[in-house]
C-alpha cells in the first residue's frame, strides 16, 4: 500500500484531524503527506513527527485560499508522480470537497464517513458505521487509487517521533476551471474562541437541565478550565440559548472527543447518535432516570448548578 494523506492547513497550522489520519496511515506502513497552502514547507517537519516519510509541498498562489479545486489539481499530480494507490482525508468542509473532486478527476472510488482502516491479507478494509451507527460494515474498493474520508476524531493525533521527512515540491498545471473561483470574503464562525467542537479533545455540552441561557456560562467555564469546547443539544439550540454551530446530535455535528461532559442532558437518542463514540462520557443530571446514564461511563445524579462550579474550581486548582 502506497499511501498519501491530505494534510489540511489553515494559517500555519495543520489540522489535528488530518494528523490523526496520518498517524493511522503510518501505523499501517509507509505514508506520505501532501500540504498545500501558504507556509506549507515550514510544516513539513511537523508532518514528519506524525509519521510522514515524505512530504509533498505546494506553496503556489493558486492554493493560498482554502478552495478545493486547485487542491484537486495538486493531489492528482502527486498521485500520478508518486504512484500512490491510497489517498486518505480527514473530514472537513474543505477536505470533503477535495476528496469528491479527486474521485471524479481520477474516476476513483471514494469511501465516505469511515471510522477505521485495516489491512487484511493484503486487502485494505474500511470500517463504516451504518443504520444510525448501530452496526459497522466492512467496505473495500474495486479499483485503485482508493480514496477514503474519515469521520472527525476517528484517530488520535499522537506524534510518533521521527521527523526530517524527505520533501518534494509540486506545482501542477492548474485547470482553467480550478482557478475560476475567488474567495470574496471570509467570516469567522460564531464561537467564543477555544477549539472547534469537531477537533476538541474535551467537550462540555449543555442541555435544558441548565435551566436558562445564562447558565451556559457554567459549561463555558468548565470547558475553558479543561481546554475544551462547548456543545449543545438540539433543545437548547431550538430555544435560542446557544448557536446552531454548537449543536451535537443526529441533525447537528457528530463528535468523538476523549472526554464528553454532559450537563443537564437527558440523552435522547437524537443526541446520543452524535456523541456515543466519545472516549469517556460523564453525565451530570438531577433526573436519575435520564437515559444518558445508560450510556455514560460516569454518572452523577445531582444539580449541575451546585456541582459544576465546584468541579470547575477543582480543575483549575489541579491545573494550577
Amino acid at each position: 500500500m502506497a499511501t498519501l494523506v491530505f494534510l489540511e492547513s489553515h494559517g500555519s497550522e495543520l489540522q489535528k484531524g488530518s494528523l490523526g489520519v496520518l498517524a493511522k496511515a503510518a501505523s499501517l506502513g509507509d505514508a506520505a503527506a501532501v500540504i498545500a497552502g501558504e507556509g506549507a514547507r515550514g510544516l513539513a517537519a511537523e508532518a514528519g513527527t506524525y509519521g510522514a516519510a515524505k512530504v509533498w509541498v505546494c506553496e503556489d498562489a493558486e492554493v493560498a485560499q482554502p478552495l478545493p479545486q486547485p487542491r484537486v489539481d495538486v493531489l492528482a499530480q502527486v498521485v500520478e508522480e508518486g504512484g500512490y494507490d491510497t489517498v486518505l482525508f480527514a473530514n472537513s468542509v474543505l477536505a470533503a470537497d477535495v476528496a469528491a473532486g479527486l474521485a471524479a478527476r481520477l474516476d476513483a472510488g471514494l469511501n465516505w464517513d469511515l471510522v477505521d482502516l485495516e489491512l487484511k491479507d493484503g486487502d485494505v478494509i474500511g470500517k463504516r458505521p451504518a443504520l444510525q451507527d448501530s452496526v459497522f460494515v466492512d467496505v473495500g474498493w474495486t479499483s485503485t487509487p482508493r480514496l477514503a474520508l474519515f469521520r472527525a476524531g476517528s484517530f488520535d493525533a499522537t506524534p510518533a517521533g521521527g521527523g526530517n521527512p524527505e520533501t518534494a515540491d509540486v506545482s501542477p498545471a492548474y485547470k482553467e476551471y480550478s482557478t475560476g473561483v475567488q474567495l470574496v470574503s471570509q467570516d469567522a464562525a460564531e464561537s467564543g474562541g477555544g477549539p472547534a467542537i469537531e477537533d476538541a479533545d474535551v467537550i462540555v455540552a449543555g442541555g435544558r437541565g441548565l435551566g436558562s441561557p445564562d447558565n451556559f456560562t457554567l459549561a463555558e467555564e468548565l470547558a475553558k478550565a479543561l481546554g475544551g469546547a462547548v456543545g449543545a443539544t438540539r433543545a437548547v439550540v431550538d430555544a435560542g440559548w446557544y448557536p446552531y454551530s454548537a449543536q451535537i446530535g443526529q441533525t447537528g455535528k457528530t463528535v468523538s472527543p476523549k472526554l464528553y461532559v454532559a450537563l443537564g442532558i437527558s440523552g435522547a437518542i437524537q443526541h446520543k447518535v452524535g456523541m456515543q463514540s466519545s472516549g469517556t462520557i460523564v453525565a451530570i443530571n438531577k433526573d436519575a432516570n435520564a437515559p444518558i446514564f445508560e450510556f455514560s461511563d460516569l454518572g452523577v445524579v445531582g444539580d449541575v448548578h451546585e456541582i459544576v462550579p465546584k468541579l470547575t474550581e477543582l480543575v483549575r486548582a489541579r491545573k494550577g
Binding site: R234, A235, A239, Y244, Q247, T251, G252, A268, Q270, P291
Partner: protein, 563 residues
C-alpha cells in the same frame, strides 16, 4: 370551556393561491401533474402511462413530460403509513393481467381473524361484525407498496420528483394551471442559506391532487372553489409500530374498548389493529377519533399502554420494535365528501377528499380506484382537446358510478353514531350494517374536531413509563420513524401561540412526535406554546384540532420504509 377552534391559526388559504409568477420561458410544463406519490397519485400516473401506451398518437398532446408526480418525502413511500389490510379489487382493476396479486410486494392474504373487546386485564372474543370481516383481503406495508407503485409509474413514463412540495395552487382566469413548488434552503427566519433554491412554477394541462390525508393544496382548493361537502370533515389519529417478533402471528386482530374509555362525555371512539407481516413481523396500531375531548389524551401513550395488556404483550414478547409512525385518517365518510371532486383544470382523489370506509377500516382501494378514474377523465379531456370548466366532470360521474360511491353511501352515518357513546353507537352501527344502510337513524350532524370543548383529566398520569423495550417515549419514536429533518428551516406549523393552558396541553399530549410544549405562562393565565417543528412527522392531527400544517421543506419528515 375552551375549544381549540376559538384560537384559529394565522393562516389564510388566499396566501396559497397565485397566478404563475415565473417568466413564461422558465415555467416547467407537463401534461398531467399529480401531487402526491401515494396509492391514488401513483395509480393515476400508472393508468395514464397505460393509456398513452395504448394510444401513442396522444403522446404529443401530453407534451415533453407527459406525467409528473410531486412527492414531498425522500421517495415514494417515505410518507406512507397504513394498517394495511387491502381489498385487492382496485389493484386488480389497475393492473389487469399485467400483475397477479401474488406478484405484488405483499404479506399474503388474510387467513383468519379475531376481534376482542378489551378490559385492562381481560380480552373477550366477539364475533367479527360484518364490516370487519377480511376474508379475501391482503396484508401490505403501504410504504413498500408505494415504492413498488412508484417504480411502475416510472416504467410507464411518469417523472417522479421527490423531495418537492406543492406549496401554492396556480390559478389563472379561474382555472387551475399547476402548482408552485416550495423553496429549499431557507433558515429559520426565512433568510436564504448558501444552498437556497427557489421553488418553481409547474404548469400542467390537468392537475390531480392526490395528497392524502390533510392535503395542503386540497384544503386550499376546497376553499378556493367552494367545494366543501354537506358535513365538515373529521379525522382519526393512528399511531403504529412494526415489530420483529419471535413467533409468527396467525391472524389479523382488532380490539375495541380499553385503553379507551367508554363514557359518553369522553367521546373516545377507536380501536386497535394487530396484523401479521409474514412470519417475522407484526404491526400494531391504535386509532382514535380526533373528536375526543380530554386534553390529556395521547394516542402514542395509549398505544404504549395497549402493548402492556397481557394478551398483546404475549404477541410481542421476545421481539423488537423496528419502526414507528403516525398519520390521520379522514373519517367523515360519505356526508363529508366534497360537493364536487373537480374544478376547472383540477381533479381531487383519495384520502385528501375523505374516501375512507371507517367501519371497514379501508381506504387504499378507494384511493387507487379514484386515481385510476382521474387518469381516465384527464385522458378523455385531453383526447377531446377540451379545456372548458366542465371538461373534467366525467370524473365525478365515474366516481358516482363506482364502488367507491356505493360503499361509502352504505355506511354514511356510521362514524357519527359513535358520538352517542361506545355501546349505543355500536348497536346503531350494527343495525346500519345489517340493513345495508337503509335504516334511517335520523340526521346526525358531524361537528369539526376542533369544535369539541375540552376537559382535562389525569389520564396522562397512568400512561406507562417507557422502558425502551416494550414501551417507548415520543422522541425515540420520532427517531424510529427515520425523521432527521434539518432543524434550522422555517417553521411549517401554523398555530395560535398564545392560548389557554388546556389548549396547549391538548396539543402537547395529542402530538405523537413531541412538537408542542407548554411554555411560559402569562399573567392572564394564557400560555405560550413552544414548537419543535423538526420533530414533525406530518400526521396532520394539528389541522384537525385547531392548527394548520403546511408543507415543510421538501425531503423533511419521516422516512418510513415498512409502515
Amino acid at each position: 370551556m375552551a375549544r381549540p377552534s376559538n384560537f384559529p391559526p394565522p393562516f389564510s388559504t388566499r396566501d396559497y393561491v397565485t397566478e404563475p409568477t415565473d417568466p413564461a420561458d422558465e415555467r416547467i410544463e407537463v401534461g398531467v401533474l399529480v401531487v402526491g406519490a401515494g396509492p391514488a397519485g401513483l395509480a393515476c400516473a400508472i393508468r395514464l402511462g397505460q393509456l398513452i401506451e395504448e394510444n401513442p398518437e396522444m403522446a404529443e398532446r401530453f407534451g415533453e413530460v407527459p406525467v409528473a408526480v410531486l412527492e414531498k418525502g425522500k421517495q415514494p413511500g417515505s410518507h406512507l403509513l397504513s394498517g394495511a389490510v387491502v381489498n385487492p379489487r382496485a389493484l386488480r382493476r389497475l393492473f389487469g393481467d399485467r400483475f397477479r396479486m401474488q406478484d405484488l410486494p405483499s404479506y399474503g392474504p388474510v387467513h383468519g381473524e379475531s376481534v376482542y373487546l378489551l378490559t385492562r386485564r381481560s380480552a373477550l372474543p366477539i364475533p367479527p361484525p360484518p364490516p370487519m370481516r377480511n376474508h379475501g383481503n391482503w396484508v401490505f406495508s403501504l410504504s413498500e407498496l408505494g415504492r413498488f407503485l412508484g417504480e411502475q409509474a416510472e416504467e410507464g413514463g411518469a417523472m417522479i420528483l421527490p423531495e418537492t412540495t406543492a406549496q401554492k395552487l396556480l390559478v389563472s382566469h379561474g382555472r387551475v394551471v399547476g402548482v408552485r413548488t416550495g423553496d429549499k434552503g431557507r433558515n429559520r427566519e426565512g433568510g436564504e442559506l448558501g444552498n437556497f433554491e427557489a421553488g418553481s412554477d409547474l404548469v400542467a394541462k390537468v392537475t390531480v391532487l392526490a395528497e392524502g390525508t390533510q392535503g395542503h393544496l386540497t384544503g386550499v382548493a376546497l376553499d378556493r372553489f367552494d367545494l366543501r361537502g354537506a358535513e365538515p370533515q373529521v379525522w382519526e389519529l393512528a399511531v403504529k409500530e412494526v415489530w420483529k417478533v419471535a413467533k409468527p402471528l396467525d391472524r389479523v386482530i382488532h380490539t375495541m374498548g380499553w385503553p379507551l374509555r367508554t363514557g359518553k362525555k369522553y367521546r373516545e371512539f377507536g380501536g386497535s389493529f394487530i396484523y401479521p407481516m409474514g412470519e417475522e413481523m407484526v404491526t400494531i396500531g391504535l386509532v382514535v377519533g380526533l373528536d375526543y375531548r380530554d386534553a390529556s389524551l395521547s394516542v402514542h401513550d395509549l398505544l404504549q399502554e395497549l402493548k402492556t395488556h397481557p394478551k398483546i404483550r404475549k404477541i410481542l414478547e421476545g421481539g423488537e420494535r423496528v419502526a414507528w409512525g403516525a398519520k390521520t385518517i379522514p373519517s367523515g365518510g360519505f356526508n363529508s365528501l366534497p360537493r364536487e371532486l373537480h374544478a376547472p383544470g383540477l381533479l381531487l382523489c383519495g384520502d385528501g377528499v375523505g374516501m375512507v370506509n371507517v367501519p371497514r377500516l379501508k381506504g387504499i382501494h378507494y384511493a387507487i380506484e379514484s386515481g385510476r378514474l382521474a387518469a381516465e377523465a384527464a385522458f378523455r379531456a385531453l383526447q377531446r382537446g377540451e379545456t372548458p370548466a366542465s371538461a373534467l366532470s366525467s370524473y365525478d360521474e365515474a366516481v358516482r358510478d363506482s364502488f367507491i360511491w356505493s360503499d361509502l353511501h352504505e355506511v354514511r352515518n356510521m362514524r357519527q353514531v359513535f358520538q352517542r357513546g361506545f355501546y349505543v353507537g355500536g348497536a346503531l352501527a350494527s343495525a346500519m350494517t345489517m340493513s345495508k344502510g337503509k335504516a334511517e337513524l335520523g340526521k346526525m350532524k358531524a361537528e369539526p374536531d376542533a369544535d369539541q370543548s375540552l376537559i382535562v383529566t389525569d389520564r396522562d398520569k397512568s400512561y406507562p413509563t417507557p422502558d425502551g423495550k416494550l414501551t417507548f417515549d415520543k422522541l425515540s419514536s420520532v427517531f424510529a420513524s427515520g425523521n432527521k429533518t434539518r432543524d434550522d428551516q422555517p417553521n411549517h406549523i401554523r398555530i395560535e401561540r398564545r392560548v389557554p393552558r388546556e389548549v396547549a396541553e391538548l396539543w402537547t399530549h395529542m402530538c405523537p412526535a413531541q412538537v408542542y410544549e407548554v411554555g411560559r405562562e402569562d399573567e392572564d393565565g394564557t400560555v405560550i406554546v413552544d414548537l419543535a417543528p423538526s420533530n414533525c412527522v406530518q400526521c396532520g392531527a394539528i389541522t384537525a384540532k385547531g392548527g394548520r400544517l403546511t408543507p415543510p421543506e421538501g425531503g423533511s419528515g419521516p422516512e418510513y420504509t415498512v409502515t
